[in-house]
Amino acid sequence: MDKIVGIPRSFLYYDHHILWETFLSELRIPYIVSPKTNEQIMRFGQQDSHDEMCLSLKNYLGHVHYLEDKCDYLLVPRVDNYGLYNQTCTNFLALYDIVHNVTNKPILNYNIDYCHGDTEWKGFLKMGLELGKKRAEIKDAYHHAKEKEKEYYDHLIGANYNALNNSKPRILIIAHNYVLYDEMIGLPITNMFQKMGATIIDANLFDQKVALRESRRISSGLYWDTSRKLVGAIPIVEHNIDGIVFLSSFPCGLDSLVNELVMRKIKKPYLNLVVDDISSLTGMETRIESFMDILNVKI
């Protein structure tokens, strides 16, 4: 019987889920994705983690805990960088070793470090070889998965651009994918905005090359990949939006610096929301309501 691969639904899952799922199903490897974050998973995460870890990492460890007895392998990506000026959060560097010390499950070899020659293709090749597949098979699966991912994101990016024509107020949300789409962190907040009649524009969903280039207009020395993509969205749509919302999980290392810098440079109304595992949604709602009132008056 084939071994089952477990994928925690957190962190890079939201960036690469099409790629991973297509790749594994092309290779006919059964996989299981942990469910959307719920209270049980958050509780698991709090048990397993250190109390100063960021909320997203705690949730990640909760997902790992959930998958522990349901799979044979864990897919834990370790991403060092995508180039010298495209580095990632240190949590991504340490993720493999943190998970390795929390659980005894074997972890698939998935290491991306462009500065030292470990490209994404190499990472997938090693992962496929570890699962007992042949090189040619892996290559086909990888390219197919890559194409499918591109198709998927092209569609989303198009929809995101079209949303700029929707009803006012249009709000650009600056948040990492794993914060924005997490069931317990970001989604309740975006739902609140939508209920109040705002159009949400996701800063992640823009042409990545353009966003990386445009980020230089706001900060010339920024060297984190995810932050650059998010910040780069601001110059692209600056004239078509009414307000900006910064959403981060407490205590995010990148956002603590980058968001503070961006707030000092933009000339749009903005709201900074930091989500903690004990913060109540009622407090958030009040802040969101008053922010929406400001925007409505301005329009």
């Binding site: 010298l84 340490a94 943190i98 503070e260």
Partner: protein, 363 residues
Amino acid sequence: MSKYKISFPHMADYYVPVRYLLSHLMEDAEIMVAPPITSKTIELGSKYSPDFLCTPFKYTLGTIIEALECGANVIVQAGGGCRYGYYSELQIEILKELGYDFTYLNLVSCGKTDIKKIYQMAKKLNPHFSVLKACYYGFITIKMVKYMDQIDHIIRENIGFEVKENSFIHLKQEMLEHFSQVKTYRELFSLYHQYKKKFLNLEIKKPKDYFKVGMIGELYTIMEPFANYQLEYELAKFGIAIKRYTNVQYLLFEKKHEIKKLLRQTSDYIKYKMGADASDNIARAKYFCTHHYDGIIHIKSSFCTPEIGAMPVISKVCSDYQVPVLFFSFDANTSEVGIRTRIEAFYDMLEMRREYEKSISRN
């Protein structure tokens, strides 16, 4: 009267070599050492900093503000890896908002140094700047840092057992004063050997079974005595010898050669580099565990992401080898009394362990 006044953020005693280098390269400009860090500095720093940013940002911002208040108009910041390299951009924004007028130079960003930019800046500050001179004085400065770190190793091992109070600190201050007046490398070299002998000949009273404690942690907090509330001296009062590998010499010159070796030594716990000094610290923790140290103290500033990632691993290493470990997380508002209580409890625990081991071996 020159128009440039150069200043830089503090870190421990390293202002001596930095001042030495700058004063020899920028003859026209005035080199101003920022006022020493006090509780007012950190108050100023945390007032203008974002809330959940790591504490070194607050300390450096505080010292820069104090230096600017004293009339400095050129700030040199070291930068570095992790978040350090990006401090400068936000600090510039914050200081501009406060209405200061200054030039800012960040040396290292994202692990790379922009030599061209530094050269242009040096030419601007001093039109007579010569590269050859910079190489020579740079060499002396590097050696001075190395010698200072080696003397510090001796001090840390012996200061807890000094007979005459403050003899080590006074001798070190005397040494630093002499160091900052050297003219040639030969002079520095002979001074170093003189003082090394003096330090080794200082009168100490070392009992046979003294406690040895290893110190690991985040680089700024562990090196700047004010940021860790003079933890090393507090420990020394209990008669504990301290071993600490993190210093400027290690971070700048040895780290890139040793990191592979360290990763190999800890291959049963970690596989990859975990960002900043996390993997070094895990390797050091394992070294202390296997070399009969009595305990380990881990220091970090609050919200230091790489060290938070390393902490579960360090506690696993220590529980495997049955070595006690004490975690400190320093913030702007940590109270000194709380720290002393924890150290006292840690020391009592070490003593009780020692007695327990003795009673077992007796039976």
